[in-house]
């Protein structure tokens, strides 16, 4: 039974790694920030599946902490990044 949840965790980890391509290739900082959204939700799901697969109840607390702090990086990006830096590098 835990094999299935581990398999799902592997699949979601692959999703994160594939999504990293957007961080590599996103032409502007805003595209890379969108990838941070991906890590937020997918990471939480992976941690929850790991908690079930390894039968360790307290990893859910790690997922809870991560979910609470997910929006802080986006807030920091939006409030501190002046519009001049978020420019397309080709222009």
């Amino acid at each position: 039974m835990s094999t299935f949840y581990l398999g799902m965790a592997v699949f979601l980890l692959l999703n994160i790694l594939i999504g990293l391509y957007r961080v590599y290739a996103g032409p502007r900082p805003r595209d890379r920030m969108v990838a941070a959204q991906l890590f937020g939700t997918t990471g939480v799901a992976t941690l929850l599946l790991l908690a079930r697969a390894l039968d360790a109840v307290y990893i859910k607390n790690a997922a809870l902490v991560f979910v609470l702090l997910m929006v802080m990086a986006v807030l920091a990006f939006v409030r501190n990044m002046p519009v001049s830096i978020d420019r397309d590098p080709d222009k």
Partner: protein, 299 residues
Amino acid sequence: MIWAFDVLLVLALIGVAAHIIWAREHFQAVVLFITFGLLLSMAWSRLNAPDIAITEAGIGAGLSGVLLMNALKSGSASRPGLSNKVLACLILPWACLMSLLLAWAWDAALIGSGLGVEVLAALPHAAFEYPVTAVLLDFRTFDTWLELGVLLAAVFGILGTGFRSGPQGRPDLKPPEPVGTWALNILFPFMILIGGYLLWLGAFAPGGAFQSGVILAAAGVMLWQSGRPCLAGVPFFWVRVCVVSGFSAFLLLAVSSLVRSQELLTHPDSKIWILGVEYAATLSIAACLVILAENCITK
């Protein structure tokens, strides 16, 4: 199946770390650093260490992201990449070292479980049931005391540079933002609640002063990011009191144990002492981290 997960996680960690070093734009490196924090939290979960997983999720993926983004505000956005010659000179020694390490680790036998047996034997005499908290706050109180001292030194350094001081020497506020305010209204009570829950949980399950301090600091930083006064609304005297409360609580404990001519940092049998020290440490960690996050902005 567990092998597939482990190998994928290790490759992901190494790949993301290499990408951080090799990335040309600073912002790319910051986003990758947040990812690295998440992957490291997964690694700690896999290694059966929930305490470190919780702390890594809080600091590595949350507060470090805010600190780095704040510091990224000014300055040039990119740097020249590593030249191919440098990469070629680095890759070969790295590959040799890694293969040596793997070959040694493959055959290495576990000598024992470290000090685990002694800790479990001494656990009934400790104030906590959970071995990790007992080691942190009971058996190795001196190390925790010094960690709080390091945090205090960092806060002194940041406050001494005075980067973000307004006219009264306090960081200025940004105007409030509606969606940030809405998210804050919902998340802030939960952050305080979960912080208190983890502090209480630390006595018998993964949790404790550090994890709780990190979440409370995140609550304070979110308050400040949404344009509400966090530490600026409190008279600076009380901010100073909060910042030094952890270190001085340990100091009081040490002095009292010396006065009673016992060994250093032995606490009396009543649990009030060690719980008071733990709560003071939580407050101190939260206040220090909020000051670090608020003041780490370059103009």
